[in-house]
């Protein structure tokens, strides 16, 4: 099979890569692009560990073909902090112990950020349902949900 040549923007950087027509975005991110922050927990769209945004839309990169990235704006966990400054969500997760083993955390953060980008004032049940596709086997979710709510409150405070 001939490889496809794809041009995209990844975390703000113009990026080109070659991929097989049937290769997933997750495999390209973790392989040739070296962005291993996105994780494979299932490969079937059921765990959210591979969450990224595609033109601002939250997607499972394990279900997306790499070829679909042509011309798109891709964001991953690696693009979340600004230099050394953690995103408020990352800071809150750290403070509140909203992670244990950390393997679900990149996906959780990307998904939570996508929520706050569209809804700066979510209710607890909106947070719980938004994150219902992200499996965490360690924390029991309580601190994750609370960290997202507290971050939202702080970010609203900050723009005021």
């Amino acid at each position: 099979m001939a490889k496809l040549h794809i041009s995209a923007t990844v975390n703000g950087e113009p990026t080109e890569f070659l991929c097989e027509p049937d290769e997933t975005m997750l495999d390209v991110l973790r392989g040739p692009l070296g962005l291993t922050g996105s994780k494979e927990g299932c490969g079937s769209g059921d765990c959210g560990a591979c969450s990224i945004t595609l033109d601002g839309r939250l997607v499972c990169s394990c279900l997306m073909l790499a070829a679909e990235a042509e011309g798109a704006d891709i964001r991953t966990i690696e693009g979340m902090a600004e230099g050394d400054t953690l995103h408020p969500l990352q800071r809150k997760f750290l403070e509140m112990a909203a992670l244990q083993c950390g393997i679900c955390t990149p996906g959780m953060l990307v998904a939570a950020k996508a929520l706050l980008d569209r809804n700066p004032d979510p209710s607890e049940s909106e947070v719980r349902y938004w994150l219902a596709g992200n499996l965490c086997r360690c924390t029991g979710y309580d601190k994750i949900v609370r960290a997202v709510l507290e971050t939202a409150a702080e970010m609203r405070e900050a723009v005021r």
């Binding site: 494979e40 994150l131 219902a132 309580d142």
Partner: protein, 813 residues
């Protein structure tokens, strides 16, 4: 973040460490979590080595079959494929192993090969390994393998496996009974004859599996030039693995290095030897190239160990006042075709009969545990081994007896829990309790949940046709296991742990510990202890774990032992280092060391607090200006201590959980409204991390209670071996979990006094939920005795669906 309490867990008083700058009892955040948040964690799947190859496995589609011709020609012809390997090809280097332990008397198991030889005994057993230049190529080539099977009748149910005349899976063993143990204490028959009430039920616990979000994985790297084998393994037990690999491959332990990098969840799943990982190591040695194996989710479901899978018949006799006179328990489990190596597959059943009735006083006990071989995936130990089963049986019977006598469930517990001032206590079964706080915990729980008000609310809603239930579950939890177990049973599993600590040239501390980090916060807790004892800011302590080359020999992480055992080793090592530093400072200042102290990173005069040296000055003198040190001063800025608990076989913790929920009697759906836990784990080092261990554990326990089940058909095929069909708890369904604490019972075995806390959540959550469901169903005279309590199971209990317990019996085990 810092503070003195999280979730109402107070800081514990601790004389030695109770200094102004102590971090003990403070909810500090985990410094090592930053890289995980940035997506810079390094898990096995992220590791790439030069010349690395990938392996994928052809696994048995049958539960039981004879292997005929294996056609690998098409797979071997693939351009990217390096080697296609069958069982016979690696038998020379990788002999089958046997998962038995000497102290489990009479236990037996058959030799288990890395790749199946002439027969397969379970779905998912690896038969052929394909090594290729990429993972995708290896997986594609596996699809091209053709194997002729002669299907054999599968033996799936443990009862059938143990029945007279059953076909024997491994004829050389004589029968299918892997292990049996009986307990008989006190006058059981007399107790039942004299009882005011007897309650009895048969409880079924489905098979579950751990579903670590990071699947198992290993990169094996054998360098022929120096004969060194390095394993990067998603493992909670690198020291144990090194010893096992040395035995398995005939290499000296000193030539093996096991590195456990970031681990994406373990929960007991990643503490066993798996055939696919053994095969990967064998291939790396034979190919003299790094070989990587990472399980995909589908193969995880049929190759990770399963657990629980029990049927327990339980009976309890009580007198007219509700006092327990006797328990009888008969536990049966099926553990697949082999006992897992090296911890075996008998410990869960053994633990079940050890722990039944654990929180209570009762004089007589009869129990039997039987472990059968069968054609399903291997079962072994998963978080809180045996606990949720024993706790559910016990607590459900307590509630039934309370109902039979017209007692409130809380009162029934009050009458039977071991008294708080009775310790030390040896139970009827022989469990030794140093100190527990069941009554304080129960009182705290009832106050925290406002039990009376909740009962009133329940009654009011019941009148309106809304069926809510309240469930209580008292529990004990095994932590800090002593040397009496695996080591005594012949496995290279240590009960001691070590810590080496040194003063760095810039005045910080580096601590190397034999336990590891899987996210529970081990490194943070050890750093808190060292920072408190030495009195330096926490940020100046660096902790190294997870590498057998750079850490002391020790017991790794299992059975909630890191804080209690490695924590004490850390405390003692830090004290020793501190004494060395004060001796050096005393020599430099010509003052007795006893008149000096370290405070906030400086050597000070103890009486006045006047600063005399920065720690960095001492370190620089000792390391680089030894010429300027007074005669006789030893340049010892590193200290190592090991610790092992010996006085008690375990440091038991105790506590109580409660669940409040609503059952929709039309659909059978359960809505969790609230969950509470009170736990006493002795000295609390980091209340936030304790709270999160409890919460995470409770949610895993709720998973077992309501959702999780490895569903098998009669052919031994797992029907839901994927993440869409095997249900685990997700954020949307989980209740608020409130945590309370009581004045604890630190263990006096160690100066630190800490016990573990990793199992407690899982131990009692299923019992609390089951009791709450049955409390909700009480008006219907219906009850549930099986887990998971799916809507279907609840509707069956309500008589709205036909009962499944017919001639064939329910599926379990």
């Amino acid at each position: 973040m810092s503070g003195s309490a999280a979730d109402g867990v107070p800081a514990s008083p601790l004389s030695y460490l109770d200094r102004p700058n102590s971090y003990i009892g403070r909810s500090v955040a985990r410094p090592n979590a930053r890289r995980l948040l940035a997506g810079q964690g390094q898990y096995v799947g992220d590791i790439v080595l030069a010349r690395m190859l990938h392996v994928a496995f052809y696994r048995s589609p049958h539960a039981h079959a004879r292997i005929g011709r294996i056609d690998v020609a098409a797979a071997a012809a693939s351009r990217e494929v390096v080697w296609v390997v069958t069982g016979a090809d690696i038998l020379g280097i990788c002999k089958p192993w046997v998962g038995v332990l000497g102290h489990l008397k009479g236990m037996k198991s058959a030799p288990q090969p890395a790749l199946a030889l002439d027969r397969v005994f379970a779905q998912g057993e690896p038969i052929v390994a394909v090594v290729a230049r990429s993972q995708a190529a290896a997986e594609d080539a596996v699809q091209k393998i053709a194997v002729d099977f002669e299907a054999l009748p599968p033996l799936t149910e443990p009862e059938a496996a143990l029945a007279e005349g059953a076909p024997v899976l491994h004829p050389e063993l004589g029968d299918n009974l892997a292990f049996e143990r009986r307990i008989e204490v006190g006058a059981v028959d007399a107790a039942f004859a004299a009882a005011a009430a007897v309650v009895e039920d048969t409880f079924d616990f489905a098979r579950q599996t751990g579903v670590t979000l990071e699947p198992r994985g290993i990169v094996a790297d054998y360098r022929a030039a120096d004969g060194r084998l390095t394993l990067y393994q998603s493992s909670q037990a690198p020291h144990m693995m090194r010893a096992l690999m040395a035995r398995q491959f005939g290499l000296p332990e000193s030539d093996i290095r096991v590195v456990a990098p970031d681990i994406g969840g373990s929960f007991g799943i990643k503490i066993h030897c798996y055939p696919d990982e053994m095969a990967t190591v064998a291939l790396a040695i034979l190919l003299k190239r790094p070989v990587k194996f990472v399980a995909d989710r589908l193969e995880s479901f049929v190759s990770d160990i399963h657990a629980r899978g029990h049927r327990v018949r339980g009976r309890m006799a009580v007198d007219a006042e509700g006092r327990i006179l006797a328990f009888v328990a008969d536990a049966l489990t099926g553990v697949g075709p082999y006992s897992a190596y090296p911890r075996t597959s008998a410990v869960e059943a053994n633990q079940v009969i050890n722990l039944i009735g654990g929180p209570y006083v009762f004089p007589a006990y009869r129990a039997r545990a039987r472990v059968a071989f069968q054609n399903k995936v291997v079962m072994s130990q998963y978080r809180a081994v045996g606990h949720p089963i024993a706790c559910t049986v016990t607590e459900a019977l307590i509630d039934r007896a309370a109902a039979a006598l017209g007692l409130d469930p809380a009162e029934m517990r009050r009458r039977n829990l071991i008294k708080d001032d009775a310790y030390p206590v040896t139970s009827a079964v022989g469990l030794k309790f140093e100190g527990l706080s069941h009554h304080r915990a129960l009182a705290k729980m009832l106050e925290m949940m406002d039990y009376e008000a909740l009962r009133a609310e329940q009654a009011a809603l019941r009148a309106r046709g809304i069926h809510r239930g309240i469930g209580l579950a008292s529990f004990i939890e095994i932590t800090n296991p002593s040397p009496a177990f695996y080591g005594a049973g012949g496995a290279p599993i240590a009960a001691q742990d070590g810590c080496a600590i040194r003063l760095d040239p810039e005045g910080g501390l580096t601590l190397q510990a034999s336990v590891g980090e899987q996210g529970q916060g081990t490194e943070t807790v050890l750093a808190q202890i060292a920072a408190s004892v030495f009195d330096v800011p926490l940020a100046r302590v660096r902790v190294v774990t997870g590498d057998t080359d750079t850490t002391p020999q020790g017991g790794d992480n299992w059975a909630s032992r890191a804080a209690g055992i490695a924590g004490e080793a850390t405390l003692q090592a830090t004290k020793a280092l501190k004494a060395n530093v004060l001796e050096i400072a005393g020599a430099l200042l010509q003052m007795p060391p006893a008149r000096l102290d370290i405070r906030d990173g400086k050597v000070v005069e103890a009486a006045s607090g006047a600063a005399r040296f920065d720690l960095a000055e001492i370190a620089r003198m000792v390391y680089f200006r030894t010429d300027a040190l007074p005669e006789g001063v030893k340049p010892e800025l590193m200290a190592t201590r090991h610790y092992v608990p010996r006085g008690y076989p375990f440091a038991f913790t105790n506590g109580v959980q409660a669940s409040y929920l609503e059952v929709d009697t039309a659909t059978g759906a359960v809505t969790l409204l609230k969950h509470w836990v009170v736990e006493d784990c002795g000295t609390v080092i980091n209340p936030l991390l304790v709270a999160e261990q409890l919460r995470g554990g409770i949610v895993q326990g709720i998973g077992g209670a309501l959702y999780e089940e490895c569903v098998y058909d009669e052919q031994g095929q797992m029907q839901n071996a994927n993440m869409a069909d095997y249900l685990v708890p997700m954020a949307a369904e989980m209740p608020d979990i409130e945590i309370g604490h009581v004045a604890g019972t630190p263990t006096a075995e160690s100066e630190l006094g800490a016990k573990g806390t990793g199992e407690a959540g899982v131990a009692a959550a299923p019992a609390a939920v089951l009791n709450a469901v049955n409390d909700a169903l009480r008006p219907f005279a219906a009850r549930v005795t099986a887990q998971p309590m799916t809507p279907e199971c609840i509707l069956r209990a309500l008589g709205k669906l036909p009962s499944r317990r017919g001639a064939a019996g329910p599926a379990f085990g």
